[in-house]
Symmetry: C2
Subunit: 157 residues, 2 copies
Amino acid sequence: MPVDEIQVAKQKFMAFLARKSLRITAQRQAIVDSVFGTDQHFTAEQLLEWSRARDGSVSRATVYRTLPLLTESGLVREMDFGKDHKYYDPNYAHHPNHNHIICQDCERIVEFESDKIDKLENEISRKLGFSVTSQRLQITASCEALKKSGACKNRRC
Amino acid sequence: MPVDEIQVAKQKFMAFLARKSLRITAQRQAIVDSVFGTDQHFTAEQLLEWSRARDGSVSRATVYRTLPLLTESGLVREMDFGKDHKYYDPNYAHHPNHNHIICQDCERIVEFESDKIDKLENEISRKLGFSVTSQRLQITASCEALKKSGACKNRRC
DNA sequence: ATCAATGCAAATAATTTGCAAAAAG
DNA sequence: CTTTTTGCAAATTATTTGCATTGAT
């Protein structure tokens, strides 16, 4: 993530904390810096590692207590990839409507946005009497284009 | 679910078992009958209850062992609604590409299908070098249409 | 000062698993 | 008969929580 985007995301989270009269601690800063210092999806455990590299005093409990704040702020989203642990996606800060394509073999993940899909979602929802707050679209696919490059660690792509 | 559809879904699962040389036991029948006897999403615990009502010998372990078979067969899908337990959706047997709108207040869930969205997904995926295997689209929304009817158990709709 | 936030270690709870007995093919 | 499946209870593991202490405002 570009340096200025990291700052923007971080500022947004600080503002969120302020709005709720929550405190800005060294541990929360280490965690937030770690979260927005990557554009990769991560697990709670990975976040703990990264945060500890910045501030050795960060505990697992604090990571688990901060994650719900991050998701509540809307800057991060919990992702379910069918594993036994949750993943978190930090890219909602800058791309609030993005979607995912996941290769069923190599598990490579590509993010994309589509106004057309967004519009259809709104249209369909309206017809059904709803108004959209957020959406998540996950496409499972085989990355056949990678067949030749041999980049897919399993069978197909 | 109409009686004939239940039978179709059940037959498909039996065929899946046969294909893998797995055995058709009384417990599996009770579980499968329970799964396709509803069109509601359910939890492992609910499925255990329903299955036990049909056959008192069904154990929790067998339910947990059968669920992966059902998902592997493609007739049932694991759903994540952000709760601490998983939900299962039996409607993929007859509507393999359906999507969900969930009211953020009353948590009412409406299922819908859209060829237009399906097409866009395929088109976009192809451009990115993937070919779609399956997809899941979940829209979180407020069911404003229900405001007047007072059917929404929380605030907004 | 005051009250929120922390680390620690123990608790929770859904799901998984080892094993000996039972049942399917 | 052979191999899979079962129920039971114990194990696993990500996440949560109580509590005494520390730190932000």
